[in-house]
């Protein structure tokens, strides 16, 4: 399980901070992402589609994989690469819940609490995660910058309640008593 790269590990701002507030201070010296190997990857992706716009979701993934989140500077960079306006790109970014518009903890933990998981005790799992990570509340990042815990709508693994996702990794059948062991493997 690898944390996303970029500067995210050193940023301790809540995921629900007002727009821009968290990002601007470390965005003054914005380093473009779509260069070198990443640019080559984007060019390969562009060959699949008849329009440049269609590469928008993949391009945003490239940015988030590299920097851990999608800042307004990144949106402008993607917009330029795909001949779109920054406003258009922002409109798309804000539609999809998986693009982080603010820095998040090194380990981004998503817990499913939709009805089937709720019926199997997901709320207790959430409480345990908040307690053991020190996040305090959903959407906040722990004081050490390591964890952000959010509630997520159906993860599509309902038979393995409660599933959680830590960065790119799925962990199935998480009960409150397993939480400390799971987190200990990350610290």
């Amino acid at each position: 399980m690898t944390p996303p790269g970029g500067e995210t590990g050193s940023v301790h701002s809540p995921a629900h901070a007002p727009h821009g507030a968290a990002g601007h201070s470390n965005e003054e010296s914005y380093q473009p992402v779509l260069l070198g190997g990443v640019r080559d990857e984007l060019n390969r992706i562009l060959e699949r589609y008849p329009t440049k716009m269609a590469a928008l979701l993949p391009a945003l993934w490239l940015v988030q994989d590299a920097r851990g989140w999608v800042s307004e500077h990144s949106m402008a960079e993607v917009a330029q690469a795909l001949e779109l306006t920054p406003a258009y790109v922002k409109g798309v970014v804000t539609f999809y819940t998986m693009y982080h518009q603010h820095p998040v903890g090194r380990y981004f933990v998503q817990v499913c609490t939709t009805s089937p998981c709720m019926a199997c005790g997901a709320e207790d799992t959430v409480a345990a995660l908040l307690r053991h990570t020190g996040c305090g509340e959903l959407g906040s990042t722990s004081p050490d910058g390591k964890f952000t815990v959010i509630e997520v709508e159906c993860l599509g693994a309902c038979g393995f309640a409660t599933p959680i996702m830590i960065n790119e990794e799925f962990v199935e059948s998480v009960t409150p008593d397993k939480v400390s062991t799971i987190l200990a493997q990350l610290r």
Partner: protein, 437 residues
């Protein structure tokens, strides 16, 4: 990665035969299990002949709507000079449904083979598999399998050495339930917000990038190679009740039940045997209270209705619900229906794309009212308001998301009205007070 259960004696494992068998993940392993014979066969056939086999088999869409697959494919006219597209809907996000995830993470080549056959049959040189962003394991498994298939010349500009072009790409979603709606899915591939489009035009006329397009679910496409290799007659014989419902179907089972998981049965299988025998029945000391048989979007069944159901497209309708995506959610007598229905409503409110007023406002207001009732602050008039809102949310919007939100509310109030009234008169959740004491 959780391992699937051993196949139950009464299951019919056509799609799930190799679940749990990690040797089936590779191209060689898949070929050893009979893989890619169907594609080889298909590339030597006329596209119309493939469509006819599918029509004859009776296969219907496994994503929820149950539209006949062969008929859908026949809307595509090869040789019209336009680029055609196949989209595979792997955005599986319907609460209670996790069958496509299992197909992709254990048998990715079954899906790729089905996509390749489908592409050829509808005259498409390009297929996009739209996989939801949260599905890291399926993304990896299908990505690796695609890499192998390209390297081995199964896919590409000279697929299996036949000179035909079959390109398949993954398009990774980014967290939006609504992108499982076919026109929203196409918008998402085009780099737009996932707002559903008004139909007509239907996708077969003007779909992805404005071109003729077919959208099929993962399970539908994964069944195609089996049908082609074994024949339509073989597939048609999988039928225990209504002849309009043929084949096997994966049902995902979750919630308060002894053995959750994915089970594959012949359509028409008795739901009672399924729930009690195959899935082990309720947890010790509990009784089933409510069953949502086809994902969160379908009406809720009482145990009596469920036990009288034969599991096919018509059978679920006859007992007050729908087959939907085959996501069976079971709630037992320890659960509060008001809270669960309120949580479903919150799901739909969160996932509404907010284009249509009835949906944007309706899903938000029913959620507020349901949560108020659950917290003990409801009035009897709230129940009428919920039903009135639900009526205004049904059949009045571009897509069916708001209809889906209304279905469990209307059926919930009808079938579990006493629980709603107990919250209102007692000014608290009767179950919660018991558990606190």
């Amino acid at each position: 990665m959780g391992f699937p259960h051993a196949i139950h004696a009464r299951e019919e494992a056509v799609l799930s035969r190799h679940f749990g068998d990690s040797n089936a993940l590779s191209l060689d392993g898949w070929k050893q299990r009979g893989g890619y014979k169907a594609l080889e066969m298909a590339l030597g056939m006329e596209p119309a002949a493939i469509v006819n086999v599918l029509k004859e088999s009776g296969l219907r869409g496994r994503g929820g709507a149950g539209f006949p697959t062969g008929l859908k494919w026949s809307f595509m006219k090869p040789g019209d000079g336009k680029p055609h597209y196949l989209c595979c809907n792997a955005d599986e996000s319907e609460p209670g449904t996790f069958k496509d995830r299992e197909i992709m993470r254990w048998t990715p080549h079954a899906l790729i083979e089905g996509c390749a056959i489908g592409s050829y049959a509808i005259g498409a040189e390009t297929c996009f598999i739209y996989i939801r962003g949260e599905f890291s394991e399926p993304l990896r498994a299908v990505g690796n399998a695609l890499g192998e298939a390209y390297d081995a010349g199964v896919l590409g500009a000279n697929a299996m050495g036949t000179g035909k072009t079959v390109n398949i790409y993954i398009h990774k979603g980014a967290g939006a339930y609504i992108c499982g709606e076919e026109t929203a899915l196409m918008n998402s591939i085009e780099g737009r917000r996932g707002n559903p489009r008004i139909k007509p035009p239907f996708p077969a006329v003007a779909g992805l990038f404005g071109q003729p397009t077919t959208i099929n679910n993962v399970e539908t496409l994964a069944a195609v190679p089996q049908i082609l290799v074994n024949g339509a007659e073989w597939y048609k014989k999988f039928c225990l009740s209504n002849p309009k419902s043929t084949g096997t179907k994966l049902f995902s089972v979750c919630g308060n039940i002894a053995k959750p998981g994915n089970y594959e049965v012949v359509l028409g299988f008795p739901f009672k045997d399924f729930l009690y025998e195959m899935c082990g029945g309720p947890l010790p000391g509990r009784k089933f209270k409510a069953i949502v048989p086809g994902g969160a979007s379908v009406p809720i069944q009482t145990p009596e209705e469920a036990e009288a159901t034969l599991m096919d497209y018509e059978g679920f309708v006859a007992q007050g619900s729908m087959l939907g995506s085959g996501g069976v959610i079971v709630f037992d007598d320890s659960q509060c229906m008001v809270k669960l229905i309120g949580r479903f409503a919150r799901f739909f409110a969160h996932e509404s794309c907010a284009q249509c007023t009835q949906c944007r406002e309706g899903t938000a207001w029913v959620t507020k009212i349901l949560e108020r009732i659950e917290a003990g602050g409801g009035t009897m008039q709230d129940l009428d308001t919920l039903l009135e809102l639900s009526e205004n949310m049904t059949g009045k919007t571009i897509c069916v998301l708001s209809d889906s939100c209304a279905a469990p509310i209307v059926s919930g109030i009808k079938k579990f009205r006493h629980e709603f009234e107990a919250h209102i008169t007692g000014k608290r959740c009767p179950l919660r007070s018991r558990s606190v004491a």
